[in-house]
């Protein structure tokens, strides 16, 4: 369960002055649901997700993730969240197994549990062949599987994906999409940011269009189609963002 209430983040920048990265963003994601956060560059997607993952502190507003407040209970929030961003990388000098075990330990897991869970994740993601090789020699696909495994090691109830398919080829992107669906099937609460229209169409149960730091429209794909009288997500997006601009 994710609940954002008027989440606001203002950055102070020497050159640009005050930047309202998010302004009073409110939404709700329930377990077994994928919430798609759709927005252009600089719309405020990463900021929103970082606020939920407690990497940033909100300037105003609040949010609860898995029942914990992101400000008062940040550590508990993080213990129940898996955060995967395109920008996050792996330690090149560690093997896949060491990487996964490291995050397991940081999540307070016992060595035995880590071992079992690694075994299971490696089965599911077909990782056995490269489990004990160093990450710096990995193909993009292998890196991605390792990243997924390290995010999932502690079996979080909430998954946060920040543009996870950026820079991936079709096959690799499909692996991710399949994996995100898997998460939903297991009853996890999923929030997924992207600027790719087709991804939200295929994947998301509820879509929120964010632009200039504000959540301008929200609903299922059907609801948005009805409301804006357009079939294509791209047209809907342009209508929403265009009205604003």
């Amino acid at each position: 369960m994710i609940e954002a209430r008027h989440l606001t983040k203002t950055f102070r920048d020497k050159k640009r002055g005050e930047i309202h990265a998010t302004e009073a963003v409110s939404f709700q994601v329930v377990p077994g649901q994928i919430y798609g956060l759709l927005g252009a560059n600089g719309a405020g997607k990463t900021t929103t997700l970082r606020l939920l993952a407690t990497l940033l502190q909100p300037t105003a507003g609040s949010a609860t993730v898995a029942g914990f407040d992101v400000v008062r209970d940040a550590q508990h929030v993080r213990a129940h969240v898996g955060f995967l961003a395109a920008s996050t990388a792996l330690y090149g000098r560690l093997t896949a197994r060491e990487t996964i075990a490291y995050f397991g330990k940081l999540n307070g897991m016992a060595a035995e549990d880590i071992q079992h869970r690694t075994q299971r994740l490696a089965d599911e993601l077909d990782m056995h062949e490269f489990l004990d090789r160093r990450c710096d020699k990995f193909s993009t696909g292998m890196k991605q599987k390792t990243s997924i495994a390290r995010t999932l090691i502690h079996d979080p109830v909430v998954m946060i994906f920040d543009e996870p398919t950026v820079g991936l080829d079709v096959m690799a992107a499909r692996t991710i999409v399949r994996f995100v669906r898997d998460c939903r099937a297991r009853g996890k609460t999923v929030i997924y940011s992207t600027h790719v229209m087709s991804e939200v169409e295929k994947l998301c149960d509820v879509i929120g269009i964010i632009h200039g730091g504000r959540l301008l429209a929200e609903g299922t794909l059907e609801q948005l189609r009805d409301r804006f009288g357009e079939q294509e997500m791209e047209e809907i997006f342009v209508k929403v963002a265009g009205e604003e601009g």
């Binding site: 990497l55 993080r78 213990a79 955060f83 920008s87 996050t88 330690y91 940081l106 999540n107």
Partner: protein
């Protein structure tokens, strides 16, 4: 604060670093090579220079004295200087360091001595130039002996004893421990290198573990794990400290080996050459390492703080490299003659350790100052560490754009 998490972070960073060739070079190879190079290099060069200057007979010109064949002949017979033909540009030649000194014998020198009339020898030299100094010393020694002979002859003529004008002799003997003598020559330099190495050893890992991680994108993943920031900082800090201290340790061990092996080799090739190795008090040296300990904490924490601010490894380098000057400056001031330890200087970081180390390696223990310096260093180190923790809690630093 959770020690289990701190240890998890530390062990991961340690494993990561030990697999990195660049760390191994900065942590092991450089300190292992630098110290013997320094000790042997300085010892060898200074020995060589002094020896060469001593063994080559200095060239000296004689000005005038054509009417004093006796003095000239005696001077020419002296094996320890070489009389070369006089030229008109003798001053220039001394300036050019082609001639070490010139000695002026006044006209009628022999005759004046004969008569017992006052007369004087004048020596021209290149002030401050070592080899010119040696030449002057030789010329002086010669004329002093020559004068003694004249005096002895005059006393004998009057049947007076030599003790009449020389009632007693003045002799001097060095009783300072040999460590003290060696310590003064090079002693300040070696502890200073420990300071420098404790800094350079921390430099690379501090930048890699902060700015490097930010740049590679691994930092965000760690921050989204449930560990507290303070655990993350301390885990990383202990790793940087490990790198710093092992750099010092490796240099200490390699220096010890240099002294043992180098000393044995020199002893075999002639006892006199042992002087080429600087002699240091081993316990003083260990105490220096003890004093460097809080400095290593200070450096590690400060370097972490500064490089965390950078967005990339390159940017971190541009902040950290100029700091080497900050390390070198106080240490160099500590090496200057005349700068002596006092209560106020004992509170100046780096300079205080540099000053007290100079004393320690020459076997002198100022317990009060040692306590003051160690204590103040610990306070500075704690402040730096607290600052590092603060820095890791600032999102505008972690996510600087």
């Amino acid at each position: 604060m959770n020690w289990k998490n701190i240890i998890t972070i530390y062990l991961k960073e340690l494993r990561d670093m030990l697999r990195d060739r660049r760390t191994l070079i900065s942590m092991i190879v450089i300190p292992t090579l630098v110290m013997p190079g320094l000790v042997l290099g300085i010892g060898f060069v200074s020995y060589k220079i002094v020896n060469q200057a001593r063994s080559t007979v200095p060239a000296v010109m004689v000005l005038g004295g054509e009417d004093s064949p006796k003095a000239r002949a005696a001077l020419a017979a002296n094996q320890r200087i070489k009389i070369i033909p006089t030229t008109a540009d003798w001053k220039q030649r001394i300036s050019d360091k082609k001639v070490r000194a010139a000695v002026e014998i006044p006209s009628g020198f022999d005759a004046a001595i004969e008569r017992g009339a006052p007369t004087a020898i004048k020596i021209y030299n290149y002030e401050g130039e070592m080899r010119s100094g040696f030449a002057v010393g030789e010329v002086r020694r010669f004329f002093t002996q020559y004068r003694d002979k004249v005096i002895a002859a005059r006393l004998a003529e009057r049947s007076l004893p030599v003790t009449l004008i020389r009632p007693f002799d003045v002799n001097s003997e060095n009783v300072a421990p040999p460590e003290k003598v060696g310590g003064n020559v090079i002693g300040g330099l070696i502890p200073y290198f420990f300071l420098l190495l404790s800094f350079t050893g921390a430099m690379y890992p501090a930048m890699d573990l902060t700015a490097g991680e930010k740049e590679r994108g691994t930092m965000e993943a760690i921050l989204s794990s449930p560990i507290a920031r303070i655990d993350l900082v301390l885990g990383k800090f202990f790793m940087v400290l490990t790198a710093s201290l092992s750099t010092v340790l490796f240099s200490l061990v390699s220096m010890g080996l240099t002294f043992v092996i180098g000393g044995a080799m020199l002893a075999r090739s002639g006892a006199a050459q042992r002087a080429a190795l600087p002699s240091l008090d081993p316990f003083g040296l260990l105490a220096v390492v003890g004093m460097v300990l809080p400095m290593a904490v200070l450096f590690s924490a400060a370097l972490l703080t500064i490089s965390l601010f950078a967005k990339s490894f390159k940017e971190a380098q541009s902040y950290v490299s100029p700091l080497i000057i900050v390390i070198i400056m106080p240490a160099v001031v500590g090496l200057l003659p005349g700068v002596e330890l006092n209560a106020r200087l004992a509170l100046v970081p780096i300079l205080n350790v540099s000053l007290v180390s100079k004393e320690l390696v020459s076997g002198v223990w100022h317990w009060n100052y040692l306590a003051l310096i160690f204590g103040s260093s610990c306070v500075y180190a704690a402040i730096a560490l607290a600052l590092a923790v603060r820095m890791f809690n600032r999102e505008d630093v972690i996510f600087r754009t």
